[in-house]
């Protein structure tokens, strides 16, 4: 079995990747929603 001493490095890396992925995608969704509303405003004559 691998070295138990450094297992926490891998656990922390895994959770960091998870949070970066979830937060990163949340930011993308926020940007996409803003952009969609901006498009509606522009096409509606308020651009």
């Amino acid at each position: 079995m691998p070295d138990a001493a450094n297992v926490w490095n891998y656990v922390i890396a895994a959770y960091a990747v998870t949070w970066v992925g979830l937060i990163g995608y949340s930011v993308r969704l926020w940007v996409l929603t803003r952009r969609a509303k901006d498009t509606a405003a522009e096409l509606g004559g308020e651009g």
Partner: protein, 239 residues
């Protein structure tokens, strides 16, 4: 252009706002539960805590691809814009969760197996699934005609989703390195509940992500359609 004004001022439904608030709390609570209450495993030691994010990401990716499959079939039968946008939204989040599954599995594999990657049946079939849906998203971005884009991507979406059972069964059909699925009977109760709590938290995230992605796509598509209608009719564009 009252509808355009409504789109601009479109507020998310109350259930979606509520779930958006609940989602991060659920993820933090489930992860805290996994860390606080599940003891160090004898065989995999504390690396088993990676399973609380790796496995829920995989399960929810499968669910997202089931939505892609269902919405794509509905599109091919009814040709509704909503089903096309739902399939596209679910495909994007499915690809995100599959990417997470691969990276998290790779981190665990580096510790447990000593390698970041190996051409194991489960890893390879998951990578193929990921590549198919990256292709699906590329196809959508390169195809301009909406009807052609929807029809082609429905075909690719159905084909891609049909790979999910292959990924799931790969550990039984080809006995390579990746362990077979655990079942509630083979897991110690505390591990089982930690896994379930994290799976439910990820399920809430999945629903929230798909709903917001679908909503953004729908606002944009409706705005473009209304604009085209107004241009064709030579009508008043201003609200």
């Amino acid at each position: 252009m009252d509808e355009m004004k409504a789109l601009r001022e479109n507020r998310a439904p109350a259930w979606l706002v509520a779930l958006t608030v609940v989602a991060p709390i659920a993820v933090i609570a489930a992860q805290w539960f996994g860390f606080a209450y599940s003891p160090t495993a004898e065989d995999f030691q504390d690396s088993q805590k990676i399973m609380y994010v790796h496995v829920p990401a995989a399960w929810n990716a499968f669910l997202a691809f089931f939505v892609v499959f269902w919405a794509s079939v509905v599109y091919l039968i009814k040709r509704t814009e909503r089903s096309d946008l739902l399939a596209a939204s679910a495909a994007e989040i499915g690809a995100l969760f599959t990417g997470l599954t691969l990276v998290l599995g790779s981190i665990w594999g580096r510790w447990a197996w000593g390698v970041w990657w190996t051409w194991d049946a489960r890893l390879t079939s998951t990578a193929v699934l990921f590549i198919i849906f990256i292709g699906y998203l590329s196809l959508r971005s390169f195809t301009e005609d909406p009807e052609r884009r929807a029809t082609w991507s429905a075909g690719v979406g159905i084909f891609g989703a049909l790979n999910v059972p292959i990924v799931y069964m790969s550990v039984r059909w080809w006995r390579t390195l990746h362990q077979t699925q655990s079942t509630p009977e083979t897991l110690t109760p505390i591990y089982k509940w930690a896994l379930r709590a994290n799976a439910i938290a990820f399920l809430i995230v999945l629903i929230v992500f798909i709903a917001w992605r679908y909503r953004a796509a729908r606002i944009e598509r409706r705005a473009e359609a209304l604009h085209e209608e107004a241009v064709l009719e030579g009508g008043q564009l201003h609200a």
